[in-house]
Amino acid sequence: MTVFVIRRFLQSIAVLCVTAVIVFIGIYAIGDPAEMLISPDASPAERAQVVASLGLDKPLWEQFFTFAWNALHGDLGRSFVFNRPSIALIFERLPATLELTLTGLVFALVLGIPLGLVSGLKPNSATDEVIMTGSILGFSLPSFWQGMMLIMIFSVWLGWLPSTGRGQMGEFLGIRSSLFTLDGLTHLILPAINLSLFKLSLVIRLTRTGVRETMPLDFVKFARAKGISERRIVFVHVFKNILIPLITVIGLELGSMLAFAVVTETIFAWPGIGKLLIDSIMRLDRPVVVAYLLVIVSLFIFINFVVDVLYSLVDPRVRLGGAQ
């Protein structure tokens, strides 16, 4: 296990380095932030001075190594726009996005797994058809449209839930979050549902497929021949086998949920990092974009690591090494 962790850690560093290079070159290619930052009527002298102060006059490789050197010292640069450390900007906004994504994920799992089980245990029944049709809608309706419909129905027509912002925040164990006040929760419901609908459909389908694939296997029949109750067969024998693919996909999807919360955050004016990213790209605020991508890559790496650990907890074949 220790060897595994060390190897994984070294791999992660390599991934981070490669991402840093690609992202840096990519953002360099998009455009010159000087055009955005300096007013058109500035004199050439003023212009040159600003460009020099931002280090934009140096060649690409030199800019990169300055960045890399500073990054090693924990400094990912200052935002051109806000003139504040970019990493601080990101960590200010990150909790809101995490709160949204995690709530969405919990929603997708808590609803998706039972629905998938029901569907998989009674394939081709009326219930199954309804659930499957619903999941097709979840898959195929574009996220932004779903979001607008949710606002239309629950905020505009019914007036039950607020449509924008994060609402009041409460504090619990030193963590500030909308989860801890009623007002915050009402603000959270719609965006969380919007973000989770796609994942919900995915979880339903994965669970259903898992059940359909596992139920006909010999060990299920053998468990029946042992006199084990149907309930235990489903919730222990079958479910533990389904968990393996479920954890893999959920791990990957959690990363993409974090990274692509952008759409939901834009629709519901949720003050998360997705919105920050869009704004920064528009203004060519290079340090923020680079720092954002590095943070997201780190999160991906971390989530994948957690997935691997969970994997070995669920699957003894992984934990104990090779099959005979």
Binding site: P216, L217, D218, F219, K221, F222, A223, R224, A225, K226, G227, I228, S229, R232, V236, H237, K240, N241, I244, V314, D315, P316, R317, L320, A323, Q324
Partner: protein, 323 residues
């Protein structure tokens, strides 16, 4: 002596889209206490489905459509699902063909054994564990206490089958149905397992139905043999009698296709043709298209003839001199 199991006119059909598949068709037999019965036939002859029918484990679209299964005098077909669950694993146990598939890969052997004990008896986990350990020891698994905490993938095929047998033995059932339990194993392991099961069945006085396509295995193990063809039992009797003097042409056909049973130098004679599709089984004797002795009369259903402890369904049985 009252039989442990008495199957009367059992029919199990599969309602498929292409028609009714008569997997088991009017099958009757009995298994006495401590008796080992071999149920022999080729793939698709309905022998496994017969086993699953007894346990009430036929998966849809299959269904037992008729007959009686009397287990110690009680008809299993009239039992509620709950009552059947209480019998499965407790009084009738089953061992499956492929030991690589019968154990759940993500649960430890201990979990899979303890749940079997606790499914039927209200005992503490510690006691269930002790019983599981003893059962593992009984089937010849070395250091059973440590092996309990292993997972199936840490066992070889033969050892997994021993674990499956240990699970079947946990409640000392009256009857064990073994569905080709040695087919997937190496020949050397096969004979070990065979020997173990025979020993344990005798030790605990259990009756055994041994489903197999291997006549050699059944000859070494069983008291009585039943030969199944196309969903029906075509011949049944004491092992020695059936194997040395088969009455049904299908049985003799099977025997002359077994390498060990044919004298050295003589060619093996495979039975010509294929078993009929269970969807379009010919009327009358299902074997008549492949049978050298068939005549026009075989187009009608042969009745079950009982002669000198032997049952067979054939109009033209082999005749053997009384010697």
């Amino acid at each position: 002596m009252t039989p442990v199991l008495e199957v009367k006119n059992l029919s199990t059909h599969f309602m498929t889209r292409r028609g009714v598949l008569r997997a088991v068709d009017d099958v009757s037999f009995t298994v006495g206490p401590r008796e080992i019965v071999g149920l022999v036939g080729e793939s698709g002859s309905g022998k496994s489905i017969t086993g699953f029918s007894i346990l009430g484990l036929v998966d849809p679209p299959g269904r037992v459509v008729g007959g009686q299964i009397l287990f110690n005098g009680e008809d299993l077909l009239t039992k509620s699902p709950t009552a059947m669950r209480a019998i499965r694993g407790k009084r009738i146990a089953m061992i499956f063909q492929d030991p690589m598939m019968t154990l759940n890969p993500v649960l430890s052997v201990a979990t899979q054994m303890i749940e079997t004990v606790q499914a039927h008896d209200r005992v503490s986990r510690a006691e269930a564990r002790a019983r599981s350990r003893d059962a593992l020891g009984l089937v010849g698994i070395p250091s059973p206490e440590e092996r309990l905490d292993s997972y199936p993938h840490q066992f070889s095929g033969g050892m997994r089958q021993r674990v499956a047998i240990a699970i079947a033995l946990l409640h000392r059932p009256d009857l064990i149905i073994a569905d080709e339990p040695t087919t997937a194993l190496d020949v050397t392991i096969q004979s070990q397992i065979l020997f173990e099961i025979k020993r344990l069945a005798a030790e605990f006085g259990m009756a055994l139905i041994w489903i197999s396509h291997d006549l050699g295995v059944v000859a070494a193990l069983a008291d009585r043999i039943m030969v199944m063809y196309a969903g029906r039992i075509v011949e049944a009797g004491q092992v020695d009698g059936v194997l040395t003097a088969p009455r049904h042409p299908y049985t003799s056909g099977l025997l002359s296709a077994v390498p060990a049973a044919v004298p050295r130098g003589e060619p093996l004679r495979p039975i010509p043709g294929f078993a009929p599709s269970p969807l379009s089984r010919p009327s009358g004797c299902a074997f008549r298209d492949r049978c050298a002795r068939a005549t026009d009369v075989c187009a009608t259903e042969p009745m079950l003839e009982i002669a000198a402890g032997r049952e067979f369904r054939c109009f033209h049985p082999h005749l053997w001199s009384a010697a």
